[in-house]
Symmetry: C2
DNA sequence: AGCAGCATCAGCCAAAAGGCTGAGAGACCA
DNA sequence: TGGTCTCTCAGCCTTTTGGCTGATGCTGCT
């Protein structure tokens, strides 16, 4: 009988083959395909309908991991999607879970953690690395400090180095509104200046 | 006979095993050891004296890749050191080459590039991925755009979100001087505002 | 000796950002 | 229906930042 069919999605060949080698040590895993991009992943899921999709979020070019997850969900595939990435940024975690990821693993997870996560995922269990889980809990404990969607959008543009005027133009709102949002963002991030907000955002949220 | 002995250094197990699997396909490579940290790498080099050390720069905890390279050089090992990392940040490239790296590969390099780089490294050839090389050349062509040490110091503090006043206090210079430095930095980075400078610096220089 | 680059500082003015208060419209939920 | 969010906007005032010009001392190179 075949074991748990797995699709690997990562733009780095070495990561794919490493993961494949690692999963190959377990008798119940069966890596049926590998994709280097989100687009490729969609096609291969159609083709093989694997039980689990293990996906990196940061894909060099084209569709990123989050987008790929959304697309997979829309096509009502029954795959469990497991995020496997390097960084534990708040934004990515929330967006991935939001998009429909079953678990969130960091690349420095131990082999046992990885195995357990994949096995759990097919059973509908949601598994995540400890640092990831603690971040999520923190957000649940302090909902006041979580940015609203609009604020997150602004912050993202802020980290591009835009001025208030440019932010307003880009979002079709007045400069006054921009300043209001910024004030709220600063309060939530615990900073006083736009410079510190950018620094915090990029470091904390992995916004690049 | 044994082939080219290689030590792999990367804090991610999957990357190590992926690379190992990849190098295993070539008859002339011989991965003799793997390290998950800079400290471990130093010990294993002593023990095995491999011909080539393939090293990631970003190591989770403890000694980072650059520091490990320096240490290896000081102990006058004859190993060729090859950087194998995800990001092509200006700062990292310069620091790695400065520390004594023979080559600089990005993780999305093709297998052939990787093989060629390792074989080249043992022969004393310096190999780097195309994007890396172009960055280096650009710095050579436009030395005017390279920050002075003092400017780099300021920029680094700038990315912490400090105000002009704080920068002055931290560096024991007047606010006027801070503004002068900033104006020069902006010109060299091709930006107009401090926000854009921070964004550019963190993204381009990998300042985190 | 002279020149170039670097780091330092000053003053002036305009533009941008930030702090504060208040307020209206729509969505959502108890 | 009433309360709570969220998003939107305005005005006023202070602080910060940025643009410009000019200047001094030091170092290193020619």
């Amino acid at each position: 009988m075949t074991g748990i069919t797995v699709l690997l999605v990562d733009d780095h060949l070495v990561v794919r083959s490493g993961l494949k080698a690692l999963l190959g040590t377990q008798p119940d895993f069966d890596v049926v395909a590998e994709a280097a991009s989100g687009e490729e992943a969609l096609g291969l899921v159609e083709q093989h309908s694997p039980a689990v999709v293990v996906m990196d979020l940061a894909m060099g070019a084209g569709m990123d991991g989050i987008e790929a997850i959304k697309q997979l969900r829309q096509r009502n595939g029954r795959q469990a999607i497991l995020v496997f990435t390097t960084y534990d940024s708040d934004a990515d975690i929330v967006r991935a879970v939001d998009a429909g990821a079953m678990g969130y693993l960091l690349k420095d997870a131990s082999p046992d953690e990885i195995f357990a996560a994949i096995r759990g995922a097919v059973q509908g269990k949601s598994v995540m690395s400890a640092p990831v889980a603690s971040r999520l809990f923190q957000q649940l404990r302090n909902p006041d400090e979580v940015l609203t969607p609009r604020e997150a959008e602004l912050l993202s543009l802020l980290t591009q180095g835009l001025s208030n005027r440019e932010l307003g133009q880009r979002l079709f709102i007045s400069e006054a509104t921009v300043k209001t949002h910024l004030a709220h963002i600063y309060a939530k991030l615990g900073v006083e200046t736009r410079a510190a907000a950018i620094a915090t955002a990029i470091r904390r949220e992995g916004m690049r």
